[in-house]
Assembly symmetry: C2
Homo-oligomer: 196 residues x 2
């Protein structure tokens, strides 16, 4: 028996990190961490599946009572991760994967809970090159240049933080990236400090 | 570019650790570390391939000038690992695998060289159960009971040390063991602290 891994995955949009996290979860290898948010549900979104939808008061209460592992405000909406939910999975030996930005990862790293500290593994996914990143961010080519430029600037800013992580994947092909990603989970499952 | 991994692999005889190390090396994934020894070559053994064969004086000189990463005396013969040889591979980005006992691993861990410290990954391979271990140690069943008993005692003594390692493989099938072993190398290749 072992406790679970808490795998933090960061990287700019265009790095392919979200695809990696979803595939790991779809293959039943890890639980994809569900955020809570004060943003209203969009059509088709289900409470407890896509997000835990909370009122402003509920969310503020969770901040005040230190129930969130990390939280942030984006465009006036709050997003965060419930510490108890993550801990429950980890205690049961289920690995948890979190698709998270560099600020969020920094908050999780600074958590003093020994169960979180012992579970933590952090990975940064880098796009193969700036040219390829730009190509990926242009997507279908329907967005105005200013939007693309802003996305590129944000991606490059995010990429400055890769040395804060323990592991890095330099994106190659989809299959190579996933092989490396899966290897990281398999290797971390062998870690003595998580064996009971 | 990255520096190499120094993978220490310990475990009792019967754990399958040597098979894992050889396969990794045969597949070109790592250099199998060659020991030096004062034991005379056996028929068919080649200097620089099976061992570096040294005189007693040469060996003692290497101990005195701290050129050995670890060394031990077994049945009156000396065995050890040349630090410069290992460092050369690591600097070139070649991973090195060492099949080593718990005392040897302890010596390598206590090495103060920062290149060794940064390269080091240690793994203990455990047999699946005591029954299975006994079965494996009995081998073809031609050895006397006292020999088997001594082997079993030595194996159980060695197994008391598994918590000193960062990773542990609990042996299952040959293929599962190798998948885990290979994952460990693939994951460690992603480690940021070894990227240049």
């Amino acid at each position: 028996m072992r406790t679970g891994i808490l795998l933090l995955v960061s990287g700019p949009s265009g790095s392919g990190k979200t695809t990696l996290c979803h595939r790991l979860s779809d293959e039943g290898e890890a639980h994809y961490s569900i955020s809570c948010t004060t943003r209203p549900p969009r059509p088709g979104e289900t409470d407890g599946k896509d997000y835990h939808f909370l009122s402003q008061d509920d969310f503020q209460n969770k901040i005040n009572t230190s129930q969130l592992l990390e939280h942030a405000e984006v465009h006036g909406n709050h997003y965060g991760t419930l510490k108890t939910e993550v801990l429950q999975y980890l205690q049961n030996g289920t690995d948890v994967v979190m698709d998270i930005d560099v600020q969020g990862a920094e908050q999780v790293r600074s958590c003093s809970d020994p169960h979180i500290k012992n579970a933590l593994v952090d990975l940064f996914v880098m796009p193969p090159s700036e040219d390829e990143l730009l190509a990926r961010l242009k997507g279908r080519g329907t967005d105005p240049d200013e939007v693309i430029s802003l996305r590129m600037k944000n991606a490059l800013d995010e990429m400055n933080h890769w040395r804060e992580y323990s592991y890095r994947i330099l994106s190659a092909t989809r299959e190579e990236d996933y092989l490396n990603f899966k290897s990281l989970i398999l290797a971390e499952r062998l870690r003595v400090s998580r064996l009971k």
